[in-house]
């Protein structure tokens, strides 16, 4: 238990440091008095990126340590699943900020991860033994891993959409431009939607093996279908009705609310997934 707790704490510290470094880097690069040399900007950015990489490395180490101790992937309780979700958001924040050269997205993702880490702190880290239905490590891991990637990507889409609504006419110099936010949102769905589909398909395969039925309208299952339909709606309105901008952003925000609903669904409604 010791090393795991240490790694968790270290991840939290690294997250805090990264956030501070990100704020500093954003502040330096966007400050009106552009007296600072470009070198200072680059150094600040690099420091922030290094710290973020350290943070995700520590989080990865934490998840691996836990996997070794419990003998199964970190995918079987709210504690483990939330930690995996944090990992997904960190990963996607880093990937998107690197791809779109933007630190605000990065910072927002890290702040959300921080909130989730605080929530995890309130959960019990004890690892319960696996009930029979969960003893299918391959499918379980693939199912939840796909969810982590999908939810991580949708989180970025959510952040970009919120920023889009705030940004309005490119009024904030510090935020990404509207068109960049639009691209980021769309890209997040391009990653999230196929993975969400995979989550549902793998879940159905697993249910078919464990319970003899691929679909039973269990609340968590249904919530994931609603989420999936909302993102399908986003793709269609975008492609066929040429929806862009604010309307699409709001649809993605609603989509993300559905993600949260799906994530906590078993807490709210019970059902077959109530172990998670």
């Amino acid at each position: 238990m010791g090393i795991e707790a240490d790694l968790f704490l270290a991840s939290e510290c690294a997250l805090l440091l990264s956030a501070v470094a990100l704020i500093a880097a954003i502040f330096i690069s966007k400050s009106k008095r552009r007296t600072d040399s470009p070198k200072a900007i680059r150094t600040a950015e690099q420091a922030a990126r290094m710290l973020s990489l350290l943070c995700i490395a520590l989080m990865t180490a934490f998840l691996i340590a836990r996997t070794i101790r419990t003998g199964h992937g970190p995918f079987t309780s709210m504690y483990e699943f939330s930690a995996a979700f944090v990992w997904g958001i960190l990963l996607m924040s880093i990937v998107f900020s690197w791809r779109y050269k933007n630190l605000v997205i990065h910072l927002s993702g890290f702040i959300l991860s921080g909130c989730l880490l605080i929530y995890i702190g309130t959960l019990s880290p004890d690892a319960a033994p696996l009930v029979p239905a969960l003893q299918n490590s391959l499918l379980l891991s693939a199912h939840v891993f796909a969810a982590v990637i999908a939810y991580g990507a949708f989180t970025i889409g959510f952040i970009a959409s919120i920023l889009y609504v705030i940004q309005k006419n490119d009024r904030f110099h510090a935020l990404p431009t509207l068109s960049k936010l639009e691209d980021i949102s769309y890209h997040s769905v391009v990653i999230g939607f196929p993975f969400m589909t995979l989550v549902i398909v793998l879940g159905a395969i697993w249910a078919d093996i464990a319970w003899g039925t691929f679909w039973s309208w269990d609340p968590k299952e249904t919530a994931s279908l609603v989420t999936w339909l909302l993102y399908a709606g986003y793709l269609h309105t975008r492609l066929l009705k040429n929806w862009r901008g604010r309307k699409s952003a709001i649809l993605l925000i609603v989509g993300f609310i559905a993600v949260i609903f799906t994530f906590f669904g078993n807490y709210l409604f019970g059902g077959l997934h109530s172990y998670a």
């Binding site: 033994p129 029979p132 391009v190 589909t197 398909v201 319970w211 003899g212 039925t213 709606g233």
Partner: protein, 461 residues
């Protein structure tokens, strides 16, 4: 007719249907849904609405019931929306087949400058290189980037038109057809499959599956194991499956490890206590012998006890068997005992007794005794829709991958000689997906040796 088709084709209908389905799902999550065992009979249905649903939603339960909202996923609303969605998808997608087919032939190889200017990603350069050499580089670059390209010449100009991943043109079609395949699979499953979620077999007993399968299941033994903290670890049923009295398969059924015979799957479901009840007459002949699973529960004086029932046709008796309470220490029925209640044919209570495990007791001129067994409850199902559903899911994922990650791309290059050493190059690149298109264009320009050109004039946006 035409206007119906136009409506079926509309995106507004598609978006509305997707939203309607989402809302219906939400209702299904928020409102209690009637479990299958109650909805199977009208009595059970009425009882459930009056008791369970009433307790949760009050008087509105009758309105909600009339609207079918306690069975949302089987309601007319849901089925209608799904059928409309299928028609909608077909109406949207079928007319597109022709246009997809024509896609690559739509614009010719020799296009004028206006055609280039209309594109989203368009680049134009005047560069100091001989036209011939440039064309050779272009051919190589297109080849390197896996475009299948054609070359045509006109006086003063050489044209290239290429495309790649032609199959991906069809990916949106795959995606929608696979949805239809999926729903077809669901339909086939619900029409010609069956599902019994509480097929109970007691240890040592053989029971017929029915549903026209000709199969029967013999349960040799059942065992349950627990982790140290009491959470379940493993449930295993050792079974043999017979068809026409011939064993066709045997093995262990565990959670996550079903057994399948001729398309019929046996999954581990529930388990519990069973009783082998035996009565001997005065001459020592067996008057009655049957194993009875205690699959139900009876609540009495705050005690919840496993319960099973059986009727004795010869004597017009009905017998109810009760196990020791599961929610506390039972003052009447110990853990090694069983309660036996007797009722007459009109279900009037006659009397009761408590039996000790494997200890005969005299009852009039009958000797009655029981021994303890376990029962195992299986989920038996046959779903001929399965293969359709899994194929559909695979095609859907494949289609999504092609749409988003291996999209169809087209490219046009036009070179015209300005002078002997100067050539004008125009390049247009199109694709169903704009993501990564700019990047692709950049790579091509680099291969053409054009990116370093200082006098770049970007005609596009």
């Amino acid at each position: 007719m035409k206007s119906i088709f136009r409506m079926l084709k509309s995106t507004r209908l598609a978006v509305s249907l997707i939203l309607i389905l989402a809302v219906l799902c939400l209702i299904g999550i928020l409102l209690p849904q009637i479990p299958a065992e109650f909805s199977a009979t009208p009595d059970g249905y009425a009882w459930w609405v009056e008791n369970i649903a009433y307790r949760q939603v009050g008087d509105s339960c009758y309105t909600l019931e009339a609207l079918g909202l306690f069975e949302v996923f089987r309601s007319g609303w849901f089925i209608c929306a799904t059928v409309l969605l299928i028609l909608n998808i077909l109406a949207c997608i079928i007319p597109r087949i022709r246009s997809i087919q024509r896609e690559s032939k739509k614009t010719g190889v020799k296009s004028d400058e206006d055609f280039y200017r209309q594109g989203k990603y368009v680049f134009a350069f005047d560069i100091s290189s001989a036209q011939k050499r440039l064309c050779e580089t272009a051919e190589r670059a297109l080849d390197d980037r896996h475009y299948s390209a054609i070359r045509e010449e006109a006086p003063g100009a050489v044209y290239f038109a290429g495309e790649k991943r032609g199959l991906s043109k069809w990916a949106t079609l795959f995606v929608h057809l696979s949805l239809i395949l999926l729903l077809t699979g669901v339909l086939i499953g619900s029409l010609s499959g069956f599902r019994n979620s509480s097929f109970v077999v007691v240890e040592g007993e053989t029971k017929a599956v029915g549903n026209g399968t000709g199969l029967s299941v013999y349960l040799d033994s059942f065992s349950d194991e627990y982790w140290e903290d009491g959470t379940p670890k493993d449930y295993r049923s050792d079974v043999a499956i017979y068809q026409n009295n011939e064993e066709v398969k045997s093995g262990i059924v565990r959670v996550n490890h079903p057994l399948t015979v001729h398309g019929v799957s046996f999954h581990q479901g529930s388990f519990g206590e069973a009783v082998m009840l035996r009565m001997l007459d005065a001459d020592g002949n067996v008057a009655f012998q049957q194993s009875i699973p205690l699959t139900e529960y009876q609540t009495n004086d705050d005690f919840i006890r496993p319960k099973g029932a059986v009727s004795l046709p010869q004597n017009d008796y009905n017998i109810v068997l009760l196990g020791s309470a599961v929610n506390g220490t039972d003052p009447y029925i110990g853990t090694d005992q069983i309660g036996v209640e007797f009722y007459d044919e009109n279900l009037n209570f006659i009397g009761w007794l408590v039996l000790d495990h494997d200890t005969p007791q005299q009852l009039g001129d009958l000797q009655i005794q029981y021994s303890r067994l376990q029962y195992s409850g299986f989920l038996v199902s046959k779903d001929p829709g399965g293969p359709f559903i899994w194929t559909a899911a695979g095609l859907f994922l494949l289609g999504l991958g092609m749409i988003f990650y291996f999209p169809y791309r087209r490219i046009w290059i036009r070179t015209s000689a300005i002078s002997e050493h100067e050539t004008r190059v125009m390049l247009r690149i199109d694709g169903q997906k704009s993501l990564g298109l700019e990047n692709e264009a950049r790579i091509l320009l680099k291969e053409l040796g054009l990116l370093e050109e200082p006098e770049e004039s970007n005609v596009g946006h």
